[in-house]
Symmetry: C2
DNA sequence: GAGTGGTCTAGACCACGGG
DNA sequence: CCGTGGTCTAGACCACTCT
């Protein structure tokens, strides 16, 4: 059992730090980044769950919870009786639907440079969509931030985030990461619900993304909630679907 | 504890049958359908996990696994210290991305009538997409079934499924459910990976869906695998995004 | 048969919020 | 405070694959 982890990739010291969240999440991130940067090759086999538990010094249940996330991201494939294997990744950018978090982090993990260009920042009267999603009246104001996201110099997405004024009173202070500012002010979302649809780009959106007017794009609306259940973020993102792929694993029903 | 389940909604006899799959999955389906048909109202609270475990006569871990699926479907919301609540459902058709399986079942649960019109059935030479997804050579043939899906008389989606010839040698025998035929022949997919993109509809597709040429639609490519890991199904679905919404819950990172 | 993932249990402690 | 969900454990048994 001692020769099965030559790089010490799975020792607790390699992935666990106190205060950075639950073990299963940190272990998930550790393995996930090992796959992203090639330390774990495509089609290679992960250690059996029982070994992994012993190597990482956690229970098997915790290992399974970490691996389950890798599976739902499409990064790992499990076959009963056989083992757990790293899935080969396609050439297109693939983003997991179950862990859509930071554009910047995602591109970093793929070895891409990323940049954001702020298109708009300020306080405005809410649109009906925003009123409903954030649960505020039309007499209140919302902070709005609109950004154009680039990767390796190519425009990839337009993201417009709206938040209640009391959550983000000074939107002009947001420079890079919205979530960083929110955490400093004591509250980033703990949960979110996404809705995915397809739209035809308007002329000005198409221009920004370097596409033709009317081109199809993915629209992902995300409503983020504090742990208390209060909605504090409504983000509408338009993604170039010729570059992005959104991926999810799907568990089909058992015997019926 | 005995007065907290007046309808006996959670007793084992109400949801568990031997041979129909794991307990957490059956319990999930039971609660899910209770929400879909209104037996559990929006904003109502589920029993605490510990009570639910006792009522259903399973361990709390099993209850949590069932509830976790409801959460990822966007059907239930959990708040630490407060409880688990049934989420209010929007007016649009919302389909969970983590359980995208049967069009027919989904519409049934929503009280919609559904119908399928077969556009094409037969054996053909594989396209490059199909060759790659199914891992077959270009000299073999694939069974193809193309269907137009209606709900309440409105065209909703076009689905084209391709399978290796040895899996589905007689495609013309598929009448209603592809999966039913596969199960009879000894093998429906156990796992699947989905890729979601947006596309502009071609003229003939648009006509079928009652939309204008070039209208944006969601394209969902699903590759289904046997338990052995062999890919046996490649389905490309085009969904009207003016009617459908695809929904997913999203867990954001913990403290950082 | 040996090894793998899949399911399930009973119990513990923590973090958070206001029934 | 007590009740809630969140995390984690050690161990058991089953179903399946591979050889």
């Amino acid at each position: 059992m001692d020769g099965s982890d030559p790089d010490g990739l799975y020792g607790p010291a390699r992935w666990y730090r106190d205060g950075l969240g639950p073990r299963y999440r940190q272990l998930y991130r550790h393995i996930s980044s090992a796959i992203a940067d090639g330390r774990l090759e495509a089609d290679s086999q992960l250690p059996p769950e029982r070994d992994l538990a012993e190597l990482a010094d956690v229970s098997r249940v915790t290992v399974r919870k970490a691996v389950a996330q890798l599976v739902s991201d499409g990064l790992v494939e499990q076959r009963r009786g056989a083992g757990s294997f790293v899935r080969a990744q396609g050439p297109k950018l693939e983003q997991s639907l179950s862990t859509l978090t930071s554009f910047t982090e995602y591109m970093l993990a793929r070895g891409k440079s990323s940049a954001s260009q702020v298109l708009l920042r300020g306080l405005f009267a809410p649109t009906p969509d925003e009123s409903i999603a954030l649960g505020i009246s039309s007499s209140e104001r919302v902070a709005r931030i609109e950004r154009l996201r680039h990767a390796d110099g190519v425009p990839m997405a337009i993201e417009r985030s709206s938040l209640p004024e009391d959550i983000l009173p000074y939107p002009e202070r947001v420079e890079t990461s919205l979530y960083t500012v929110l955490r400093e002010n004591g509250g980033a979302p703990a949960r979110a619900i996404q809705r995915i649809t397809a739209i035809n780009l308007a002329a000005h959106e198409a221009r920004l993304l370097n596409l033709a007017e009317g081109a199809a794009a993915l629209r992902i609306d995300r409503t983020g909630y504090l742990a208390s259940g209060r909605p504090i973020e409504f983000t509408r993102g338009l993604y170039r679907s010729d570059i992005y792929d959104f991926v999810a694993e799907l568990r089909l029903d058992g015997p019926s």
